[in-house]
């Protein structure tokens, strides 16, 4: 069976800065894995390259056996990858429902003429989109917020909307970039339950970046640790916890 995601020797340079060097990684279908590392280690860069936002300088990325480097983000999304952002990126001046609806954009099935002439295909497509969006809102317990503008909602709810938006695209792989950022400890408990529930309910694979050890340790089956753009350790949460290289990366060299 082909792995869901394979990254071979990925190198990413921005001018003179080497953000990633020979980063390799793979994950199977239905895995829930984590990517951790100190600030500025290059975690978000990995996500940005994988989702097509940056073109990799060197290396290969295959998603579901298909080579995706050089693809535009919207093409990668159409293949079944969705993501959330470290700092929330919602469309703040349109309703929550519209936010979710737009996540179906890659599968619209009609174009300019369809929209302006209101063809049968347009009406069917919009009906299906509306149904799907309402469903996702219902599942994510957001129905009451459907007509609100995201900017008027509390932070925790905005995070949930972003997750709902990502799920509305029926992804095979969900990339979560620091889902617990800015949440208090009570919210973090809820988030852990929610991610586990999403993982079971939607039968998808999840790759997450997270700083809070509590989250990754209780959720992830496997962890990859990066520092200065390199993979410094891989293994189960238990192994990572006791890995000297990881402890050194996080706490510094004790031979000061």
């Amino acid at each position: 069976m082909t792995p869901l995601l394979e990254i071979d020797d990925l190198t990413q340079r921005f001018g003179g800065l080497q953000a990633l060097s020979n980063f390799s990684f793979f994950m199977e279908d239905r895995e829930l894995v984590g990517l951790i590392g100190p600030n500025g280690a290059g975690k978000t860069t990995v996500f940005n390259v994988v989702s097509g936002f940056y073109d990799p300088t060197e290396g290969d990325i295959r998603f579901g056996g298909k080579r995706i480097n050089g693809m535009k983000p919207h093409q990668v999304t159409a293949l079944g990858m969705a993501r959330t952002f470290q700092n929330i990126r919602l469309w703040n001046d349109m309703s929550v429902l519209d936010n979710i609806r737009l996540a179906r954009y890659a599968w619209l099935g009609y174009g300019f003429l369809g929209a302006t002439l209101r063809t049968k295909r347009y009406r069917q497509a919009e009906k299906a989109i509306e149904k799907k969006a309402r469903e996702v809102l219902e599942i994510m317990d957001l129905t009451d917020a459907a007509e609100e503008l995201p900017k008027n909602l509390p932070y925790g709810l905005q995070r949930r909307i972003e997750l709902a938006r990502a799920l509305a695209g029926n992804p095979r792989l969900l990339l979560l970039d620091e889902p617990a950022a800015g949440l208090n400890s009570a919210d973090v408990e809820g988030l852990i339950r929610q991610i586990r529930w999403v993982y079971d309910e939607f039968k998808i694979s999840i790759w997450m970046i997270e700083h809070q050890m509590k989250v990754v340790m209780s959720l992830c089956q496997r962890l990859t640790v990066v520092d200065f753009g390199r993979v410094i350790a891989e293994g189960t949460p238990e192994e990572i916890r006791n890995n000297p290289a990881v402890i050194k990366a996080y706490l510094g060299d004790d031979t000061l």
């Binding site: 969705a82 469309w91 349109m94 954009y105 599968w107 009609y110 300019f112 369809g114 929209a115 919009e126």
Partner: protein, 358 residues
């Protein structure tokens, strides 16, 4: 019911107008002003697609109106009249009332094609830089037109009056008023339908967070091409109508001053609000018409009060002091415009009982 209120109200108003014009209750001057209100409405509402809904700053909208005006003029001269440029008419002149929509569609398509000039650089450029590019595009279009001698060069191009007369020969109706009303209806319906569809909301998504849009599966480059082409195409429609109302076109009528008029109307109405921009276009056109009377009156008054030297006459050029002044005051005191990103029904919720824009 409310959903159809606009669709019913509009034709009723249109028929009333045409009947009034037909029985001679509206004199030629009022008729022309009303027609120009319609043309300005199309021009402003089309600019609003890019400057309002997409949040980019296009300052060269006049250029697309220019392309539409010339393309429309050339088409109707070739179709319905015997001319030196194209020889005998392509279709019998009696067909003009029926085939005129082809002219309008052709002009819109031509202008939409030129919209690509601005759409392509917009992939990598935003804000101020894109604004500069749009100004440049405006100048390029005008210089190109002025340097093609076959279509009159800087002298301008005429002959469309004969096409309009050909329509009047078939039936004595205020044809250009009718076509302007039809054009405005098509324009507003297109934008309204576009912006209520998920497809069109991609434009708002690009405006509100382009990174999120691209990441969530929206082909942002294609959205930009679409928005610019719709916007410039509808500006072309307004240009073609303008050319036929005047019966004469000159590239300089579509220079940066025309683009500025568009900006004033959009910012007066409120970016991203079609109903606001429509109201602003009506108010603005009336205001400019009013200046035609106010300036001579002001001139007399100032001379009577001996505040102006006898050798100086306040001329219509002063219009170009008052209009930019309006823009400055607007930016200073109400930068969000009259309605500011909201439709009329959102500002006055009670209206929802009668009408919806969404």
């Amino acid at each position: 019911m409310q959903r159809y209120a606009l669709n019913i109200l509009f034709p009723v108003a249109a028929v009333v107008l045409v009947v009034l014009a037909q029985v001679g209750w509206l004199d030629r001057y009022v008729l022309t002003v009303v027609t120009f209100i319609g043309i300005n409405c199309i021009f402003a509402v089309s600019l609003n697609v890019v400057n309002g809904y997409m949040g980019e700053f296009s300052c060269g909208h006049g250029g697309f109106m220019c392309v539409g005006a010339y393309a429309g003029s050339l088409l109707s001269v070739a179709f319905f009249t015997d001319s030196r440029l194209f020889g005998a008419s392509l279709f019998p002149p009696e067909s003009a009332p029926f085939l005129f929509p082809l002219v309008l569609v052709g002009a819109s398509l031509a202008a939409a094609l030129f919209g690509l000039i601005v759409a392509l650089p917009s992939f990598n450029t935003r804000d101020d830089y894109l604004a500069i590019i749009t100004i440049a595009a405006n100048y390029i279009i005008i210089s190109v037109v002025e340097n093609i001698d076959a279509i009159g060069g800087p002298r301008g191009f005429s002959g469309m009056k004969r096409a309009v007369n050909a329509m009047s020969d078939v039936a004595e109706l205020p044809w250009m008023l009718i076509w302007t009303i039809v054009g405005l209806f098509v324009c507003v319906a297109t934008i309204r339908r576009l912006m209520t569809s998920t497809y069109g909301k991609g434009i708002s998504a690009v405006s509100q967070n382009e990174v999120a849009a691209e990441m969530m599966g929206i082909n942002t480059n294609r959205v930009k091409i679409m928005a610019f082409m719709v916007s410039s195409g509808l500006a072309g429609l307004s240009g073609a109508l303008y050319a036929h109302v005047y019966g004469y076109v000159n590239a300089q009528s579509f220079n940066i001053l025309r683009s500025t008029e568009g900006l004033v109307m959009v910012y007066l109405g409120g970016m991203g609000s079609t109903s606001g921009v429509l109201m602003a276009a009506v108010a603005f056109t009336l205001l400019v018409e009013l200046l035609r009377f106010v300036i001579p009156w002001l001139n007399d008054l100032l001379h009577a009060a001996s505040l102006l030297p006898a050798s100086y006459e306040l001329s219509q050029i002063w219009k170009w002091v008052f209009i930019p002044l309006l823009l400055i005051l607007l930016m200073q005191f109400r930068p969000e415009g009259l309605l500011g990103n909201r439709e009329l029904t959102q500002v006055f919720p009670r209206l929802k009982r009668w009408i919806t824009f969404r």
